[in-house]
């Protein structure tokens, strides 16, 4: 492999420039196309766009709040998110609404109890073109999060809006990566995942998908062991027949617990602490039903309990109490335990390794496929050269191959040790040379090269196995190529 003199992002930028001049030469560069190309270029410099997708009530907004650590996406017991909402980093809070063919207006930023109100006012959901919330948050500086309404909704138009965003019939998906949430595997999920997969396969959708088994606290009837049950369920999904050829790696995460951990108030903690200190039988008796929890006569004020119930839900309260009894003394300790228990850290880590370190490549991929769709719409002999260059870059860029293979890794028929090594070398844990080879970060270049050389021989050896199936062969080849890149010092 030749070491690349330019990064993929640079190449993408150059291709966009070429496309512009080629279109200009053929006098096809209308103001509209020019704007599209400019947006395409700008996308390379903006934060990565991560869309949260899933069926109705799968907990997308709650997870978004948990990731940001603030309640900026409205949530409710019944279907709540009705329009695709963009959450971007910004110096100060702002809400901007584009509707009715490009009319823009700012909405007032109103919060009650820390929850942000998104009131569209007189504008009905079907007239909204874009709803954008700007919020000061370190996570939003890194990623732009897109909250989508649930699919399989009983209001057809709501589902249709999400599908138009995720898998548009024309053009390409605006997101660079997708976090897919589901509560349990259902045919509607399989259908949507398949659609996303097809779009990625035909170069119209994002490559990066992270799966989340959401509302993990509620699995197994809301017992305090429900997170473990959710993790077991996520392990089961890896061998689910229905997901053949689709994304199979799902992280069990409870958005609610994570959010509560991050927004825990002293008053909430003291109420929980008092409840945890009750005798076992009294506590069990009030935890029987939401009605009893609020109405039973206790020293703890009923108002506090009611507030706790709205915020935590019965399951959340049970888990929080068991954490306190398990040794979480004090609000900060409980907050940390809740977050740890929720699985949010795993999600953060996965986002970092999957999206964070490949940020530029994912964006380049998005920019390239957008560019391709622009060029295909304005086909001319002038642009043929750029189109084939874009195609070549999309097909031949090793990091894209790595991403594709990482998504299918859990389904490979190889021993776990091989799988883990493969994931590591393909950059599943991080893309630095040392992480890929499993070496300490301060390893000298000579050592790294030697280890890479060993790794190449190892994977070549694996490749000589006569009965390998095609995906495994591809993965081994890709592993060799990744190691070669390390040897060449390009990674």
């Amino acid at each position: 492999m030749s070491s690349q003199p330019y990064s993929t992002v640079d190449l993408a930028r150059m291709l966009i420039r070429d496309a512009r001049s080629d279109l200009q030469a053929g006098s096809q560069l209308s103001a509209e196309v020019d704007a599209e190309l400019a947006a395409c270029q700008r996308r390379l410099d903006e934060p990565l766009r991560v869309a949260l997708a899933g069926t109705l009530k799968s907990g997308k907004s709650t997870l978004l709040n948990a990731l940001v650590g603030e309640e900026i996406a409205p949530t409710d017991a019944t279907e709540c998110t009705r329009v695709v909402t963009w959450f971007c980093g910004s110096a100060g809070p702002r809400i901007e609404l584009t509707h009715d063919g490009g009319r823009r207006s700012s909405l007032p930023v109103l919060r009650t109890d820390g929850r942000l109100h998104l009131d569209l006012g007189p504008v009905t959901a079907d007239r909204v073109q874009r709803l954008e919330v700007g919020w000061p948050s370190s996570l939003l500086d890194q990623y732009t999060l897109v909250d989508t309404p649930g699919t399989s909704s009983n209001s057809r138009d709501v589902s249709a809006r999400t599908l138009a965003f995720l898998t548009p019939d024309e053009g390409t998906c605006e997101a660079d990566a997708i976090v897919y949430l589901m509560r349990s595997l259902h045919s509607a999920d399989v259908a949507l995942l398949r659609k996303l997969h097809e779009h990625a396969g035909t170069g119209r959708g994002p490559l990066g998908i992270v799966g989340v088994l959401s509302r993990a606290d509620e699995t197994d009837g809301g017992l305090t062991t429900s997170l473990d049950a959710a993790r077991a369920a996520s392990a089961e999904l890896r061998t689910a027949r229905e997901l053949n050829g689709l994304h199979r790696d799902f992280l069990a995460v409870s958005g609610l617990l994570a959010l509560r951990g991050q927004t825990l108030r002293q008053q909430e903690f003291s109420t929980l602490d008092q409840l945890a200190a009750l005798p076992d039988d009294v506590r069990e008796a009030i935890l029987v039903s939401p009605g009893r929890f609020v109405t039973t006569e206790l020293a703890t004020p009923a108002a506090g309990r009611e507030q706790l119930l709205t915020a935590f839900g019965m399951v959340g309260i049970r888990i929080a109490i068991s954490l306190i009894r398990g040794g979480a003394r004090g609000a900060p300790a409980l907050a940390a335990e809740l977050v740890r228990h929720s699985g949010l850290n795993d999600l953060h880590r996965t986002l970092r390794t999957r999206f964070g370190s490949r940020n530029r490549q994912l964006k380049a991929h998005s920019a390239l496929r957008t560019l391709r769709s622009i060029l295909l719409r304005h086909r001319s002999p002038n642009t043929a050269r750029v189109v084939s260059a874009v195609d070549r870059l999309l097909a031949d860029t090793h990091p894209f191959t790595e991403l594709r293979l990482l998504a299918g890794l859990v389904a490979l028929p190889v021993p776990d040790r091989t799988r883990n090594a493969l994931g590591q070398v393909l950059g599943g844990q991080g893309t630095s040379a040392t992480t890929r080879l499993g070496l300490p970060p301060d390893t000298t270049a000579t050592h790294t090269r030697a280890a890479a050389f060993h790794a190449i021989r190892f994977w070549r050896d694996q490749l000589s196995e006569p009965l390998l199936d095609q995906p495994t062969t591809q993965s081994y080849r890709a592993a060799i190529r990744s190691c070669e890149a390390i040897m060449a010092g390009a990674a």
Binding site: D76, T78, S153, H186, E198, G221, T310, S388
Partner: protein, 597 residues
């Protein structure tokens, strides 16, 4: 019969109990035996079985993981192990708790209606509701993933008395759930929506309201009951009456008891009343004829002639050329054609969709996904076709019954006016009852159902899945070949594979139409035979009665004058016995509900 009925428990309407009914039937049986009418005796024996085994199937269904098994546990108190993931759980009454796994019936044995070719778990518990004859069937979660599973659930429904549709309070009804509810409603009129896990979700009332809105928008009128199995369980353990009410379990049990069991009970009583009327009318016919002849020997010849006409009319009813036979024959032919046409029509739609899909891109790349998508669409079509066959089959049975009654009435008006209604009864009143009971429609339908169930559960995809299309070029090869030639070549490759894929789909559809068509034709013919046999039996009974009456009148004419008074008294007694029985039978049903028949 493993299910023993507690007589007191059925005493819902205070108009009589099971023992009273059986006693009534037994007395009538004695009279039929005395009149030497074993055919009517069989009729009564069947009625007796129906009374002593008032089993009522209630199917519990919903999407996986919504707490169906816990619901069954809460209602019955039976220890339902969560094996319900793959095998249906059947809970019925027994004196002591038991759980056993019943293996799938072997190919030779006649599978019990509704059991299907899968193993099932049988659970018994000494529970009040179960003692009333309720049998709860907890189906494996119809997650919609396994389309065969949803089909298996649907195939249970025509024989079910009611359906409990379970969805938990974590979210409102989704689009697939509403679609499933629509299908359920078509097959079983009594559907109760249960919202479970209200102990976990404080805002369940909002969910209930949202669900109500969705149901109203979908035009479905279904009662919604919030419920918590966990709270119910705790309430039972601690004997906490207040918590029990809060849990919603007693409300559901009450609803099932009044709405489902109560209705079934009234239907059952009406059926008994009609059976009694039917049998006593037949018995009375001979007696009345004899009495007429005895009282007025002068018009004896005229009476004999009239009865002969009646006999001939009844005989005509039994013939192959009878009008109802024609209606049945024509109807069955039309039905077969219509069902097959419907299947073809639906599948043609699927083929069109599939072809359009194939043309969008290279089919080889996503052959497997395409296969399972097609599988789902086919299963859906076959299911809809099943619903259609079911409703049409029922309509045919009713049509034939109407024709039969009309014909019987015109043939022998004065003798048969009284019980024309009762001929229809097996059609109307037994419909919601167990399929193994004598209801003609039920029998017809259960035979259809068996086959469709089978088709629905067996995967049809073998044809398509086995066919491997040539693998597409790897993307890497494209670069080696040079982009242009690659695209060119790929284009022709793609169109070739698209043609292959279309041919494969067409072949598969032929297979499906052949398989399903063969099964459904066979079963519809079975249904036709069942209907024909049933009505022929009824006609034979009528003929027999007419025959008896005719002979009795003839004999009465020849009886000696001095024996005449004694015989008149005897006949009077027998008639008054019959009348008494009928009055007692009528008292079984409250006057209001009599109108139903």
């Amino acid at each position: 019969m493993s299910v023993m009925t507690d007589p007191a428990a059925r005493n819902g309407t205070d108009t009589g109990s099971t023992t009273a009914i059986t006693e009534l039937l037994d007395r009538l049986r004695l009279l039929t035996d005395a009149a030497n009418r074993p055919d009517l005796g069989t009729h009564l024996a069947q009625a007796r079985i129906r009374v002593t085994d008032p089993r009522l199937r209630i199917v519990v269904t919903g999407q996986a993981g919504q707490g169906m098994s816990s619901l069954v546990e809460a209602i019955t108190g039976a220890p339902v192990i969560a094996t319900g993931k793959t095998a249906p759980v059947v809970a019925s009454y027994s004196d002591s708790d038991f759980v056993r796994l019943v293996p799938a019936p072997t190919a030779g044995a006649e599978p019990e209606a509704g059991a299907g070719p899968v193993p099932r778990v049988e659970v018994g518990a000494p529970n009040d509701l179960l003692a009333e004859g309720v049998v709860l069937i907890d189906t494996p979660g119809a997650s919609g993933l396994d389309t065969g599973r949803a089909g298996a659930v649907l195939s249970l429904l025509p024989a079910a008395g009611a359906v409990l549709f379970v969805s938990d309070a974590s979210q409102e009804y989704t689009e697939p759930e509403i679609a499933f509810l629509r299908q359920i409603r078509q097959l079983c009129p009594t559907v109760i929506g249960v919202i479970t896990k209200i102990d976990l979700y404080p805002r369940w009332a909002y969910i209930q309201r949202a669900n109500r809105t969705h149901l109203t928008n979908a035009g479905l009128d279904i009662p919604l009951l919030p419920l918590s199995a966990t709270m119910g369980e705790i309430a039972r353990r601690n004997s906490d009456a207040e918590l029990a009410v809060e849990s919603g379990v007693p409300q559901l049990v009450d609803l099932v008891r009044h709405r489902v069991v109560g209705d079934a009970d009234i239907v059952l009583r009406n059926a008994v009343v009609n059976d009694v009327r039917f049998v006593s009318d037949h018995l009375a016919m001979a007696l009345n004829a004899e009495l007429d002849a005895l009282n007025d020997p002068s018009c004896g010849a005229e009476l004999v002639a009239r009865l002969r006409d009646a006999w001939e009319a009844a005989d005509r009813l039994r013939q192959r050329t009878a009008n109802w036979q024609v209606v049945l024959g024509d109807g069955a032919t039309e039905l077969t054609v219509e069902v097959e046409h419907d299947l073809r029509h639906r599948l043609r739609g699927v083929v069109r969709e599939a072809e359009a899909d194939i043309m969008t891109s290279d089919p080889a790349k996503r052959w497997e996904e395409f296969g399972s998508w097609l599988d789902g669409r086919i299963a859906e079509s076959v299911q809809d076709n099943f619903v259609l066959a079911h409703t049409r089959c029922r309509a045919l049975a009713e049509k034939v019954a109407t024709r039969f009654v009309a014909e019987g009435r015109s043939a022998v008006p004065e003798l048969y006016l009284d019980h024309t209604g009762s001929i229809l009864d097996p059609v109307q009143s037994l419909e919601p009852l167990d399929s193994r009971k004598t209801g003609i429609v039920q029998r017809a339908i259960s035979s259809v159902r068996g086959s469709y169930g089978g088709v629905l559960m067996v995967g049809l995809m073998t044809g398509l899945a086995g066919l491997a299309l040539v693998n597409p070029y790897s993307i890497g090869a494209g670069v080696l070949l040079g982009a242009n030639t690659f695209w060119e070549d790929r284009k022709s490759q793609t169109s070739r594979r698209q043609a292959e894929a279309k041919a494969a789909v067409a072949r598969l559809m032929d297979d499906v139409i052949f398989q399903v068509g063969k099964e459904s034709k066979y079963r519809l013919r079975e249904a036709q035979r069942t209907l024909r046999d049933h009505f022929t039996t009824v006609a034979t009974e009528m003929l027999r009665s007419a025959d008896d009456a005719w002979r009795a009148a003839q004999e009465a004419n020849q009886i000696h004058t001095e024996h005449r008074a004694g015989r008149i008294a005897e006949v009077h007694n027998a008639l008054s016995d019959l009348r008494q029985l009928r009055v007692r039978a009528a008292a079984l049903v409250p006057a209001r509900t009599m109108e139903v028949t």
